[in-house]
């Protein structure tokens, strides 16, 4: 494994996600990354308890049902908490975004003035290429 992974602009990243070790080690997650490569945000939804969970598993961690389907996300959420990581070569924003579908996820807030970000702020999904190949969901203020 190399150094800090970080993200890069989405140029050719969409095409090489299959060789990404973070995809290869988790075969059941492939549909998520295939959709993400095309800018589509999927969420795992349980057919039994009808709840969405995060991070995705092929079973529902809430009720343990193995009947879970990928469903398109609204792409909307609010900032649950965040921190501007100042002591970094290039400061960035680590955050938890609470999705409109219920769960919260770790992510980055991008294309935002650091000082304008606040808890409760509405955000929408965008995608950035991770260095190892897959595209990951990030969020930007609405």
């Amino acid at each position: 494994m190399g150094g800090p992974e970080g993200t890069k602009q989405m140029s050719e990243a969409a095409l090489d996600f299959e060789s990404d070790p973070y995809v290869a080690k988790h075969p059941q997650s492939r549909p998520f990354w295939a959709a993400a490569a095309h800018g589509q945000f999927l969420l795992p939804r349980c057919n039994s308890c009808e709840r969405v969970h995060w991070y995705p598993r092929p079973f529902c961690p809430l009720c343990k049902s193995q009947s879970v389907d990928w469903v398109p996300a609204s792409g909307h959420g609010v900032v649950y908490s965040f921190s501007v990581m100042r002591k970094a070569e290039q400061p960035y924003v680590l955050a938890y975004v609470q999705l409109a579908e219920g769960p919260a996820m770790m992510t980055n807030i991008v294309d935002a003035e650091f000082d304008s970000i606040h808890v409760g702020q509405p955000v929408k999904v965008a995608f950035r290429g991770a260095e190892t190949g897959r595209s990951v969901p990030v969020f930007t203020p609405i």
Binding site: G6, S29, R51, L62, Y80, M85
Partner: protein, 389 residues
Amino acid sequence: MSATSKAYIAGAFEHPTRYAPTKSIADLHFECAQGALADAGLTFADVDGYFCAGDAPGASPAWLADYMNLQLRHLDGTEAGGCSYLLHIAHAAEAIAANKCSVALITLSGKPRSLGVATGTAVRQIPPERPDAPWEIAYQPTIVAVNAMFAKRHMYEFGTTREQLAWIKVAASHHAQHNEHALLRNVVTVEDVLNSPVIADPLHRLDCCVITDGGGALVVTRPEIAKSLKRPLVRIAGCGETVKTQTGGYIDLTRTGAAASGAVAFAEAGIKPADVKYASVYDNFTIMVLIQLEDLGFCERGKGGRFVADGNLISGVGKLPWNTDGGGLCNNHPANRGGMTKAIEAVRQLRGEAHPAVQVRNCDLALASGPGLVMGTGQNHATVILERE
């Protein structure tokens, strides 16, 4: 009577070094083991149970048992991050009660300072096969930024302030001035904390613990052996442990596993938070102390900021003497794992062997508590309650 109430901490040793470039991690484990056994008045030949965690070279008891040539009939390599050693106290007591061993040795050591590890600010390395890895690593999570998000949310929900968080560091520094081995012995003010550089908003440099080489060890034994030794009797009165999961994404960043581990430990000991005379609470970051104090029941939920302010954690000044060795914020954080030193200072207090300037009078009940590992919003957690007999 529960299993854990039948064992005693007979030996405790904190390695005096904070920088050990010329020693191996295994050597430091040996020196800590030697120190704790000498403190108890026991020898390596008495040890029949051995406990260590992920800091042990090889991440298994096997390599250090071989290195120290221990003759064992019980071993436990439970890895729960920084609180591992608090879990080991509980597990050792259980093993002794089950007659699996009589003298249990617990060791910790590490050299992050001499190895130049940027513990809190480096992006966490997550092996690709770990289930959370694909969903977190690309966002460059650091330990300090994750803790900063706890702080930000607590401020949002309860109005907690940076000044209140700073009081936790101020208390640690008041204690550390009396500890000749502490890495940072200067007394600091709230202003000093707020004027230190922002690392991850809202946490400043002085909200973060130190990075040190060193280690520590404990010896846990059965009542008849403990009572045959010359040391004061420190009984393991109650223990709790848990993993606070991320609950499938339905998170709460204003609580820790301390609520669960603390409740179990208090129930087992049959005491209330108000009975505790001294508390060691793991201080990797100021915010983590504040939330654990709420979760453990020392104050109401959301009121931790007011509880820690104005010196309430300073021995001889406030209501809850806390981390009187200077804690991880000022004294020592060997191997980036704070559970061991928390137990050791609690033992010192119960024996009446803390520095006279910070010794709590009539200290008969103490608590040691802390988190371990960082799994996004979740963590391991362990609490131990100790009683002077």
